[in-house]
Structure formats: C-alpha cells, structure tokens
Symmetry: C2
C-alpha cells in the first residue's frame, strides 16, 4: 500500500477502538466502480454511440482483447499482479494471513453477446476488482487468500470456467465462434489451447466461489428488492420435436382430411404453457424455435420442427414435465393425424448454491440494511461451473424491467454499489467463519 492510499483508507474507513478499521463498516468506492464500468464500456461500443447504446464485446474480438487489457490495468491499480491461465481466464491473487487456507475466489466475465448491455458480467467482474481495491486502500489483510477471476468466453459456452474443471474437449476447441475456432480465439487472448490442463483446479482446492451478477429477469425490480440471494442455477431439459403431417394444397384439401403439422404444433405450444403454469412453483417452459415446411401460405404444413425447453431447480419437476408433454403429444398426434417424435437433446443438472453461503449473503445484506429475496437463477453463469469445485454463492441485483442481452439492459448505479458492498461483506464474513 502506498502512503497516499493508506491515508485515503484512514479517511474513508472508521476505525475501531483498537485502531483497526471496523470491517462491518467498510464500503466499496461507488464512484470508482461506476467510472470503471463506464471506461470498460468503450471497448466494443457501437461507433458514435454512448454508454446507453450497449456493447458488442464478443469473446476473442479486438474489443475483448482491449477490454481485458483495461481490466488487467484495473487489477494492477488494485494491487494485484494479473495472470492469464491456459483457458484464457484472468486471475489476480491477494495473499492471506494464513498460508494453509484455500482461496476465496470471486469474479465474473467481461465478454458480451452481440448488441449486449454494459452490466451482464461487467458488473460482477469490476465489482470483484473494486473489492480488492477497497481492501488494499483500507490496508486489510484477510485470513484466506482472495482471488479475482475474470472468466473467458462466458457467452460462448462458459469456455473459460469449464477450463478450470477440465471439461473442455478437442471438439469444443474446433468449434467456430464468431468467425474463429475456439482454439485460435484462445490464442488471441493469451490462452494456451495445447496445454489446457494447466488451467485445471482440483475439486476442494477453493474455499468458496462468489459471483455478483445482474438478475437478467424482472423479479427483483418488480418487487422493489435490491439484493437477490440465489438458491441455485436451474436444471435445463431441452427437447427437439418433429411433427410429421402431410403437405397438401390449402384449397383442395377439406378440413377433415388434413394432417396439419402446424396445427399440431400449436396444440403442443399451448400444452407446454398449460402444463408449466398449472402447477405451483417457478418452473418455466418455452417453445422458442419453430420451423415450418414447406412454409407457403397456400400449402397445409407437412412438417414442423420445434424446440421445447423446461427449467427448474428441481430435476424431479423437469422429469414430470417431460413425461407430461409426451403424454399430451401422443393425444395431439391422434387428434391431428400426425406423427410426433420428441427427442431429448440436452440435460443440464442444477447447480445449487451452498446454504451456508446463502445465509452469509443474507446476513451481510441485512447488516447493510438491504431487503433480500431468495430466487433461482434461470440463466446459466460461470458460477454453475465453479459449483463443481467449491461451495458457491451468487448475489443478484435488479435488472430494470428484466431486460438483458440488449443495449437497453440497465442496473441502476446505487444497485450496482449495493451489490458490490454485499459481495465485499460476504467475502469478509466467509473469511471470518
């Protein structure tokens, strides 16, 4: 710590009678967090745009490379020496007082979807660095080592965090992403696709993983609650449905003779909605993709392919929904004289947050005077991967109107700061426990 930083920490942080800063009253620098989010937003900003025009910081792009360089500068300013692992993740380690303890890891990602917003991933990443900066300013050394991790290519399939648990296959590296192979992309950001094993961490080697993230849904915003305590990341079941009817002339085929694949699809879409909403719980079900063939106004559709996706924390609920939709599909096929096949294409298990960490987040928020709400995360995050290595906790802050993956994505500055303070206090609480 420089003399100037120590002075600033003394001014900013009230001391206990023993002369040490009172950890419970330690706060991040909200203005500095906002400034860093604004500065990062420049990398990938649409030409001629402002912060409000969002960002396209696709992994491995020039904007990603430039953004990562900026983030490494922020780490250095926070007293960290950045390193890049073989999976392209950025790490900054802050030593603890007890070298026998495992690190507390926290972070997020700074890559974005095309035409995304300036909060998804960026907030959790820069809040993590801000926490480090705050601790350095206050001259506080924790018992555990602390490590900030900025995961590479979250939006393209959590490639970076998967590198930590060793589930990136050669086929993943061969896959094209935004015009380059993942392999070449990794090289562009300083990774080493030929030695990915270097990025692996064994399970049990991390004390806890924490991630602050915008909710990306509208539950907190609608309820007016500033802090969400994530119960877990939902399990996902995906199906591909193929409906075979018979394509025929829309003028010459009487209604009773039709084998209309799109009519069958309509009935299935309504069945998904009805099944999901008729039982208690927060499960969701979506038909998001649908393609009609031959897709002409004057031809009775002969073939429809569509997706079905169910999400819930409970795999039992998903299994029940899967069985129920198959039953409905059999009935729809009989009613419409079509053939319907439903093929499971993906099953993601849930990643439950540690109940202990959930209580620590809740207690930290409570001490800061914030109301909290427990909720599942319907979206996937790096935390889902890291839950395989360590007890995991996630903090959500409100997304205005639930908008995300859009330039209109917005989390208000006070909510950003509140989330960062809850992250800071939770880290300190875990460190003490």
């Amino acid at each position: 710590m420089t003399g100037l930083a120590a002075l600033a920490a003394c001014i900013a942080t009230p001391s206990t009678s023993s002369g040490k800063p009172a950890l419970e009253s330690l706060r991040i620098d909200a203005a500095r967090l906002q400034r860093s989010l604004e500065e990062l937003s420049v990398f990938g900003r649409p030409s001629g745009g402002t912060f409000a025009d969002g960002v396209s910081r696709i992994a491995y792009s020039d904007a990603d490379v430039a953004g990562r360089r900026y983030v490494m500068d922020l780490m250095r300013a926070a007293g960290l020496e950045p390193s890049i692992d073989a999976a392209g993740n950025l790490h900054g380690l802050r030593k603890g007082r007890d070298p026998s303890l495992k690190p507390i890891v926290f972070g997020s990602h700074i890559d974005s979807v095309p035409d995304g917003g300036n909060f998804d991933g960026d907030l959790g990443s820069l809040a993590a660095i801000e926490v480090m900066h705050t601790l350095q300013d206050a001259g506080i050394r924790t018992r555990h080592p602390l490590e900030v991790s900025i995961w590479s290519n979250e939006e393209g399939g959590t490639l970076g965090s998967r590198g930590q648990i060793g589930t990136v296959e050669a086929a993943d590296l061969d896959r094209m992403f935004a015009g380059v192979s993942m392999r070449d992309g990794l090289r562009r950001i300083g990774g080493d696709p030929d030695h990915l094993e270097g990025a692996r961490r064994p399970p049990g080697s991390v004390q806890a993983y924490l991630e602050l993230h915008i909710e990306q849904g509208g539950v907190l915003d609608k309820a007016g609650i500033p802090i969400g305590v994530v119960e877990g990341l939902v399990s996902i079941d995906e199906y591909e449905v193929e409906i075979r009817g018979f394509a025929n002339h829309a003028g010459t085929t009487p209604m009773p003779e039709r084998r209309n694949a799109l009519l069958a699809a309509a009935k299935l879409i309504e069945a998904v909605q009805e099944l999901v909403t008729s039982m208690p719980g927060r499960q969701v079900g979506t038909v998001g993709q649908l393609v009609v063939s031959p897709n002409a106004p004057n031809v009775v559709p002969g073939l429809v392919r569509h997706s079905i996706e169910f999400r819930d924390l409970s795999e039992d609920t998903l299994a029940h929904l899967g069985a129920a939709i198959r039953e409905r599909a059999a009935q729809v096929a009989r009613d419409t004289h079509t053939e319907i096949t439903i093929r499971p294409t993906e099953h993601l298990p849930p990643a439950l947050a540690s109940p202990v960490i959930q209580r620590q987040i809740e207690a930290s928020a409570g001490a800061l005077g914030f109301k909290t709400m427990h909720l599942p995360s319907g979206a996937g995050h790096d935390a889902q991967i890291m839950a395989r290595l360590a007890p995991m906790g996630m903090i959500f802050v409100p997304s205005v109107a639930g908008v995300s993956h859009s330039p209109h994505e917005l989390t208000r500055w006070p909510d950003c700061a509140n989330g960062a303070n809850v992250l800071l206090q939770t880290i300190l609480r875990i460190d003490r426990s």
Copy 2:
C-alpha cells in the same frame, strides 16, 4: 380425313339409321390419350426416371418448349393448325358449320410446378386435343367452331389466360420467374410481350369455356365417384398477421411476465381451425406460413409473422370469417399481452360455373353411366380467368388420395378416359343446344 381414319371411325362409331354416327355413342380413344400423356411426360422427367417419377416442366424452361412442340405435333395429327398468340398460348381451331356462331373453347395447361405430377393440366390439355382427334376421325363437323387452347404459364399465375382478358401489366412482365423475367420467358415460347393486346378477346366472344382437370383434392376418390361437376372456383381472402410480443431470456423471464408472440400465434392457429370447422359448409382456412423471431430455443419469441388464408365459394362466408378472426385476435392479444395486426393482402372473387353448363356436364356424365358429385374447386385454374369472358364449366376426375403438385400425383387411366368422354359429350351437347 384420310380414308383409313374414316374406316376406323366407321368401325369405332355405330351409325344411326340415317348413316351419320350416333353422337351419343361417340367415344375418345383411351389408348391414344394414355399414349400421348406418357409421351408428353418425357419432357421434364427427372434424369433416369420413369412416368411415376413425375415432371418438372416449369414454364419457359427447355422442357416446356419441347413439350409445347410435342403438343403442336399432336394438334397437327388431330387435323388442327396450331398458332401461338402474343401471350404464349397455343390454339387449334376447328371450323364449325355455322360461321355466325361463336367458338366453344376448351383446354388447360402443360406447364408444371417443380417436382410435379403428370396429370395436373396435362390431362385437360391432351384430352382436349383427343376430343378434336376423335371428331376428325369420325368425320363430325359441329355447328360451332371448336377451339383447343393450351394456356401458357398457369403455375406461375395463369399468365397466359390472363393475357386473353387483358389483365397482364408491365409489372407482371418484369417479374422474375424461374430465373428469367416473364417478358423474356414469353419470348422463349414464341409469345410477343410487346404486343400483348394481340392476345385479347372481348367478353362475349366465346360461346362457352370448358376445362377437364384432376381434382387435386381427395373428395371424389374418397367417395368413389368418377366425375365431379365443379360449382365454381372459390373466392380467396389472404391476410398477413404480425404479432409483437417481447423477446426475452427463456430462463430469467417468469411465465406471468412473458409477452410470448408464438404462444399468441398458437392460439390464433387454433382459432382459425375452430372458426372454419364450427360452421356448416365446405370453407377452408389455413395458416401455412409462419416465421418466428429471434427463433432460438432459449429466447421467448418476440415477433411472429404468419399468413391466414380462407377459401369458399361464398364471399359472405369469407367476410364473416375475416371479422371473426379479428375478434379472436383482439382477445388473444389481451390474454398474451401482445400486439396483433391483421392486414388483408389479397382478395380473389369467386368464379362461378354456369348452372346451364353444370347441368349439361351432369347430363352427359349420366348418359355415359357415371355418378357425379357437385363440388367447388379450392384450387385456382385458367377456367377462373376464362369465366370473365364466357359461361364456364369444369369437369373434375379423381386424384388418388388427393395428392397433387407431387410426383405421387395419380389419376387412374380409366378415370382419365371417362373425364375425356364427358368433355367430348358436353361439347357436343352445348353445340346442339
């Protein structure tokens, strides 16, 4: 008539006591009709295929040009001198006994859809020439002039028959069809797009127009009835529906917060089915084209565009259906929190068949021992256009299983011959009336 033909006619045709052939017992040559259909099928046949593999004789293609040359040879063999009008239609005129009378015109088309069948259009065209051949063989001269017309480019929008009524615009000629402009296409088949007025016929200049065609639906085949008496060609109302919801994350957007455009579309598709089938009558309603945006399994659909098409002989029924679906759409929009706009894109008036000609077809079929059924034509035909010039009648023969616009299109040979004989006898009956 050659001596040999006269001899054949004498053998084939019983004579009345006066020595003239009994017109009621005159029959077409079924074997010759089959042979000509088989020979025509070669032009546009898939390489290495057989008759059963269907045909791609797209208008203006080399196959179309070759097929038309074959048809002109058939006309010559039937004693006709073929001519090509400015709209590319082939005509063959047979003089009548009374030069003051207007011609009875009959025919169809020989162009096909891609991967079409060997009966749609071909049967009506070659049966018309076969009728002429039969009359020539029998040495029969009718009172009215008879004219066979093979209309150009029926499948691309009845361009040839529309040339007869003068509704082909410059924009039609500029339109691209199968890789060439209609204008250049017309030139390839001997038409004269710069002097289309030469193809026009004034209303009232034709005594009657008759067309034999395969049903293209499965009504006759299912009922086991060999001859359909067409009541008219249905009116068509087409609408374009736009449903605006809000595209959002399928994981983070709770079910009650969704504005799901595809769910709204599903409800409308079911509403179309229910409205059309809950009232008596033979009206049909189809949603054949539907496009989802952004169309990803993990995104709640924000935008759906789809067609709605209603068909019936009665424009009142169509108007009622249009009003009813708008009412339903308003309810669906409220229920799903979406915005729905329904824009009419096309209104085709019905073309009613002449009741007199319907009775003449029925009487001719009855005299031949065939059961008949009255039914509308749900598909469009050149007869729809010619109905603006003259009293019109159409004869349908069964399509096996209702399949058409497909290589599997099939009308059995006896049904082809029966239809041609009804055409012949109806022409003679009109000629006498």
